[in-house]
């Protein structure tokens, strides 16, 4: 059984995705890996390795977010005075303190009556952030919440780690969340299991194990990948099994609460760790692969919590300005966390991708 949430009269009014200009092709990195090229090419098809976008050295989360919010302000798609909160979901903060959301507020010269909050979440970060945004909008003083899902975790992934590097992606998404005039109902379910907290982690760099020359030492794992304790590491098998076990029943539970059948949903926008995992989920849940787009990793990489809103930007594009959709959002991964939202997407005011 999941923790359940119900919200009414809330909506997403637009999504802007900011992607790095730097695009790298899988073939150009194959020589870095400790595997025969022929084998890597076969894996490319199964996992959706193709190309990914990562930031240049020195680019941080606040750079991407400020660039995107400035764009919205300059294009007349957002008014400064309407911003009541900046919710930044990231696992690549610029410092332990201050919060990166405060840095963004300062760079944008927003008023002091803006709530800034950093949320340490990853793969389920869009869902967790939306829940927070919807909760804030229960307060009359809140006009619009900017949900920022932004990560530059490519900087924490070993270039010689074929498990993770081909899938690494950096991105920021800006989702504007506000009240709706329509009598909408949003349903959500959430689960967390800290017993699996170390299945996905960056071992060093925090207070428990500060970075040092020792933690930076590169070592080969049992699969032939090289990484250090400063790099992101995941137990891929355990993550895969956790997702296949927990996500389908969670979606079944959510649809039952929403009073909808699987086919009533126009799109399932799920977090995209890799193509294989997502296709298996689609088959298990019993929806067509057209309804569950799996094209983000192969085109942009896995940018953690940004993959879901990026999937909306990429797959719906300008259609989201003219049409409405019943959707199911789901995120699953680090924490361990698995959560989902079922809601209607009303017509957006904007929904596109820009490049930094």
């Amino acid at each position: 059984m999941s923790l359940k949430f119900t919200f009414r009269n809330k909506r997403i009014s637009g999504i802007l995705t900011v992607l790095p200009k730097q695009e790298i092709k899988f073939e150009d990195e194959m020589a870095q890996y400790n595997f025969p090229p022929a084998k890597s090419l076969k894996l490319k098809l199964a996992m959706g390795y193709n190309k990914h976008r990562i930031v240049e050295a020195g680019t941080n989360v606040s750079d991407l977010c400020v660039y995107g919010i400035d764009y919205l302000l300059n294009e007349g798609l957002l008014e400064k005075d309407d911003i009541s909160a900046l919710l930044l979901v990231t696992q690549s903060p610029e410092h332990f303190l201050p919060p990166t959301s405060n840095i963004i507020q300062g760079k944008l010269e927003l008023g002091t009556d803006v709530l800034c909050m950093d949320i340490n979440q990853g793969c389920a970060g869009f869902i967790i952030g939306l829940l927070q945004a919807y909760m804030l909008l229960e307060q009359e003083s809140i006009k619009k919440v900017l949900l920022l899902n932004a990560d530059v975790l490519s900087r924490k992934i070993s270039k010689r780690d074929r498990n993770s590097n081909p899938l690494a992606g950096d991105a920021a998404t800006i989702t504007v969340v506000e009240r709706s005039l329509e009598p909408t109902t949003i349903q959500s379910v959430l689960n967390m299991d800290g017993k699996g907290a170390y299945v996905l982690q960056i071992p060093a760099g925090g207070f428990k194990l500060p970075s040092s020359p020792e933690t930076a030492e590169m070592k080969e794992d049992e699969n032939g990948n090289f990484r250090s304790l400063d790099h992101l590491v995941m137990k891929g098998d355990e993550v895969f099994n956790f997702v296949q076990k927990e996500v389908p029943p969670m979606i079944e539970e959510l649809l039952a609460i929403s009073g909808k059948k699987a086919d009533d949903i126009d799109f399932y926008f799920f977090h995209q760790p890799n193509k294989f995992m997502l296709n298996k989920l689609a088959d298990k849940i019993g929806v067509s692969r057209e309804k569950m787009p799996a094209n983000i990793v192969e085109n942009f990489g896995n940018a953690s919590g940004a993959t879901v809103p990026l999937a909306v930007s990429y797959n719906l594009g300008a259609d989201a300005l003219a049409s409405t959709y019943e959707v199911c959002f789901a995120g699953f991964g680090v924490g361990l966390t698995w959560a989902a939202i079922q809601q209607k997407l009303e017509k957006f005011q904007f929904n596109h991708i820009i490049y930094y």
């Binding site: 498990n163 699969n223 098998d237 997702v243 298996k280 088959d283 298990k284």
Partner: protein
């Protein structure tokens, strides 16, 4: 079915003899990424979708185990 499985395995890891009586996982003949590629190939070859919950190393440790998995998915 057996011959088709052996052909797929041989294409995947041509350096190994999959006709020998060993545990493919323990012997290091298949790693987790090989299993991903093997599942993809079996799905395509037999027109099935192996359940994600069954993508466990022990289900791919021998020809017999793979045959059992395919039988469970309706392959004759």
């Amino acid at each position: 079915m057996r011959q088709q499985i052996i052909e797929i395995l041989a294409e995947l890891r041509p350096e190994f003899d999959f006709c020998q009586d060993v545990d493919f996982i323990e012997a290091g003949m298949l790693d987790s990424f090989d299993v991903v590629m093997l599942v993809t190939a079996l799905d395509e070859k037999f027109g099935i979708s192996i359940d994600g919950m069954d993508v466990l190393p022990e289900n791919f440790s021998s020809i017999e185990q793979i045959e059992n998995l395919l039988t469970k998915n309706g392959v004759k």
